[in-house]
Subunit: 623 residues, 2 copies
């Protein structure tokens, strides 16, 4: 297999990292109000310009005294002092403490002149203005001298300090109204590709339009790293428009990122444009995902061209770009949160590039963490949320065995495995059921594949139709299914076969199996063979994934009849022609029965939830 | 010792936690733009309302073909197809792929009707409109069917999902313009105490005024926990004003917090007011710090009264209140980040309350983490930033031995020990020097205590004056010191002793030692005894902490002459009368020489930094 022309000189990931790390930007500082400083990075040292406290402060409620007056005082031999005044916190003392006298003070009050200690109220008794002191105190006792917390001139916080609640507290104590912080690096984000549409616009799927995902993920990632994203508009892979967009971005930003336009044809245009405006230092990185990454400059402004697939773009951003933004923002390097796991499947890979393998995690019955691969390189956006982190496979490693220990680099410090991993049939009742359990991940792979995977030992539960599978059935329901349509003339399968309707089938799924069985029975009853009947249904091979997808196409007018559930038809306001009822089972792996989330699921399945009534044609079937 | 009247019924920390956890608020939701959703919590399940992709999508650059046409194709036996059109990403196909033809497609383009697979460009060769296909493909190959990523109706994200860059990417792909999220719990924060002053106002230290610290730390902590702080103005411990402030706060907030007014006198007022407006369920918690905590309701609104000392307030907030705010915000419980450490000092404590002991951390030469106590219960705000976490000491444990293993609950997941821990003399050149090293903590305990602590084995370096101490001298400098004044008539010590000037001394420090030695030599030369000379200096016993504090008091007009450094006098524009020069040494503990931060410090001390010239009266003295 020949590699693409334009990526002949793949550089090592370490070279790419170094090239991006050596970009120079981000050392400016600005002064901002203390109230806005949470999470920012101090640009300069802050020394105290005043004493804190600014006065000798009583640390306890009690009496300010001259320590010398209390010598010899004890429980049995109280010393009597004349209380001449009271000073509360926030009050100026009106009198001095002279020998033989004391002044009542509250915690935080100014210790009056003449006094050098405070006797806690607990060690005193008072009658009128006479205070009996039952303990001796030493000079300085329960008095915090001025500047004892921070003295004027002391180094309070160093440059580079990340300001949290605690540092902000200290700065407030020092009376800082504003603080000098590092400017957030401005990161321009350009999404390229004629197929991209802004969220505000409507989508023409017939023209292959898709919503722009990368602008948002990269913007959020930039913010997390301490940068300030500047999302530019989307640009087609057009030379003239790319030039304008890149020049505009470079003029205002510290770093310019593009995503997309790295397919064979488009990348030449992009690389040529960047080369024309500045330089392309590296053209391709020996890493997967992310091979088609560009590194260079637009004018004097550092530039990275990210791949277009969301998982690839975010992976390259996280691995190479985010650390540089953090550094430019003055933040300390992030220690990648890691978790030890056991690989739960076998994986062969021989392309000779470092691979960042997106994996999902699940805890088995013994509390061990299992990892399974998620992204198939398909450009799926669901891979973004179905993975918990990546396993780095070095270029020279070609095989991961089921059972191999791996280290997973988690996507965030608060990433933990979902509490429940389910696989199998896609069903609206199931979707609602899963809302009862916190932090669920569900992979709608269909009934058959779900049953198979449960046996494979990765998921906690599988959701299957028809017959149940090995494992513990936690519960289930029946669902009525049939034809979903806008055409009131259809009464049954016969009309679909004999009429001239456009139909949308389901892909492989429990629902599809039920339909195929029904069609087969219909053919047998008519004395026809299955292929003949199939051919008579216009669109039998036009299959959509997801229980609602055929109904949606009917709703959109792209087809007249779809395979679907009664509850879907009712919800979307479509007509429904029943063809059958099907059992749906929630089955747990025997070794996961003790997991709290599995038990929570069982409790709901054992109960009689009110919301089941919201689903037309569904009957609860507890175990 | 008798306990205070009003805290007789201390409740167990578990009871307090439960009381706060059972507060009911925070289940509302709101719809916000996707752009603002980073970090928010999904209030409802989001199902896909469309297929993603919305069309059969080419996953590679190449040619859309009918798979059947490629049967038998190979490197040596290419199949020739007629290329009839090109479809780029974002374009509507104009033609179908008929048998014997193909259409050129870019990655992301719509797979044209008739085609059921894509042949990668790498496996083709083209001359004019004739494409040689050198490999056989199967139906579906390199085509992502519509809905294969997410199908209409599929469960995309469950309620309770915390939205990060990845979830936002998926929601963007699904075309969600707005998302239903949990409302941030509104937390009213009232600081009580007549001594508190807003940052915008100026401070009258003679009246014991201090800046309000808690409003800012608790607001930042509230934001971190997912709440929305509503900082009310400060209120004196006055019954009528407290009633108004609490009623106002309770009307608009989900939770009302006060801090302060928990000293013996004030707490009765506060508790009575809360009881009058609602109820005080618990009055004191058996925990240190934080005993004077109130728990109850203001009207129907949950209420917690936090202590006034910043460390206590933040500690109680973090331990009891923040978890409830997180929960009400829909966030999963935070796993407290922990770190194993070795206690580096002995600690006895016998008060019979659970103790949350603030500790600082440092890594010793072998990479082991040492913990040392920070807060002395003094109400110091510096304890906020000098601690890295807390060690929980159960009520029944009375002793921590030097060398005991402890578990430190860190203040945040990104808290790591400072790279360098220094102790000793306070000096402006040192403050500047420490800017050269990232993440330094310096405790200005004075020269003598610094030397002692270095021997004690906790800090990495000590900064001492006069003679150096055990350890490795990394470098140092000399500093000219003397009298700092606004009075041009002073020429030397003689004028201070014989004249009628008000003087401010330094507290125990290297500088003070130098001054005392000079005064003693002066006394001897005059044939007078030391006490006589001391008494002649008005203010000899008025000592300020921090190298700049006496100069600041001169500048404020609170004194006429202060003890200080020439560099300070120059910087603050004061006159300076030299009395001597003093050596300052930076000394490292022998077992810490390999620490990178110690080596960085040594490099700077070995060099000839330009900035030394900014300090009048200072001469560099490398080792």
């Amino acid at each position: 297999m020949s590699d693409r022309r334009e990526f002949l000189d793949l550089v090592d990931p370490a070279v790419a990292r170094e090239a991006i790390a050596s970009f120079e930007f981000g050392s400016e500082s600005e002064s901002i109000p203390l109230d806005d400083a949470d999470g920012r990075v101090l640009a300069e040292r802050v020394d105290a310009s005043m004493d804190v406290p600014g006065f000798d402060r009583a640390s306890k409620d009690g009496y300010a005294v001259r320590a010398a007056d209390t010598v010899g005082a004890g429980e049995q031999r109280p010393v009597e002092l004349d209380c001449v005044d009271t000073v509360h916190a926030g009050e100026k003392p009106r009198q001095s403490v002279e020998p033989g006298t004391c002044i009542e003070v509250s915690t935080g009050a100014v210790c009056p002149p003449g006094a050098d200690a405070v006797v806690m109220v607990e060690y005193t008794s008072r009658e009128g203005d006479t205070v009996g002191v039952r303990t001796a105190v030493t000079p300085g006792q329960d008095v915090m001298p001025a500047g004892d917390d921070v003295a004027a001139g002391e180094r309070a916080l160093g440059p580079g300090t990340v300001l949290t609640a605690r540092e902000i507290g200290l700065l407030a104590a020092l009376g800082r109204k504003t603080v000098p912080v590092r400017v957030r690096p401005r990161v321009a984000i350009i999404s390229t590709g004629a197929e991209l549409v802004a969220l505000e616009e409507s989508l023409d799927v017939s023209a292959g339009e898709i919503y722009d995902v990368n602008a948002r993920t990269i913007a959020a990632g930039t913010r997390d790293a301490g940068g300030e994203p500047q999302v530019a508009s989307r640009v087609p892979d057009d030379e003239a428009e790319l030039v304008i967009a890149l020049e505009d971005a470079a003029a205002d930003a510290d770093l310019v990122l593009t995503s997309g336009s790295t397919s064979a044809g488009a990348v030449d245009v992009l690389a040529d444009v960047v080369d024309g405006l500045g330089n392309v230092a590296h053209h391709g990185v020996a890493i997967k995902p992310g091979k088609p990454t560009l590194i260079g400059h637009v004018g004097e402004t550092p530039y990275v061209g990210l791949p277009g697939y969301p998982v690839s773009a975010l992976s390259i951003f996280r691995t190479f770009v985010a650390p540089k933004i953090r550094d430019a923002a003055g933040r300390p390097p992030l220690e990648t949160p890691r978790r030890r796991a056991t690989m739960a499947e076998r994986l062969r890979y021989e392309e000779g590039r470092t691979r960042l393998l997106p994996v999902g995690l699940v805890e088995d019955g013994g509390g061990q963490t299992l990892a399974y691969t998620v992204d198939k390189g398909s450009g799926a956006t669901t891979s973004l949320t179905r993975a918990d982190g990546v396993v780095e496979m070095p270029a020279e490693r070609t095989l991961l065995e089921d059972g191999d220990p791996v280290t997973v680099e988690l996507f965030g410090s608060d990433v933990t495995p979902p509490r429940l991993l389910g696989v199998g049939e896609d069903d609206p009742v199931l979707s609602r059921l899963l809302d009862s359990v916190q932090r669920v991940r569900y992979l709608p792979v269909g009934s058959e594949a779900g049953g198979r995977r449960l046996v494979g030992g990765i998921p906690d539960v599988a959701v299957v139709t028809g017959d149940t599978v090995d494992g513990e059935r936690l519960g289930g329901w029946t669902r009525r299914w049939g034809l979903v349509t806008t055409d009131a003339a259809i009464d049954g399968l016969e009309d679909l076969v004999d009429g001239d309707y456009s139909f949308v089938n389901r892909t492989r799924s429990g629902l599809r199996t039920a339909f195929d069985d029904t069609v087969e029975a219909f053919a047998t009853a008519r004395g026809e063979d299955m292929p003949t009947v199939r051919q008579a249904i216009h669109g039998y091979d036009q299959a959509a994934r997801g229980h609602e997808a055929p109904a949606r196409r009917v709703l959109d007018g792209r087809a007249e009849v779809g395979l679907g559930l009664e509850s879907t038809a009712t919800r979307l306001g479509l007509d429904f022609v029943p063809l059958g009822e099907q059992r749906v089972h929630v089955v747990a792996s025997d070794d996961r029965l003790e997991k709290p989330a599995v038990q929570e699921l069982r409790t709901v399945l054992d109960g009689d939830p009110e919301w089941v009534a919201d689903f037309e044609g569904v009957a609860w079937e507890p175990s």
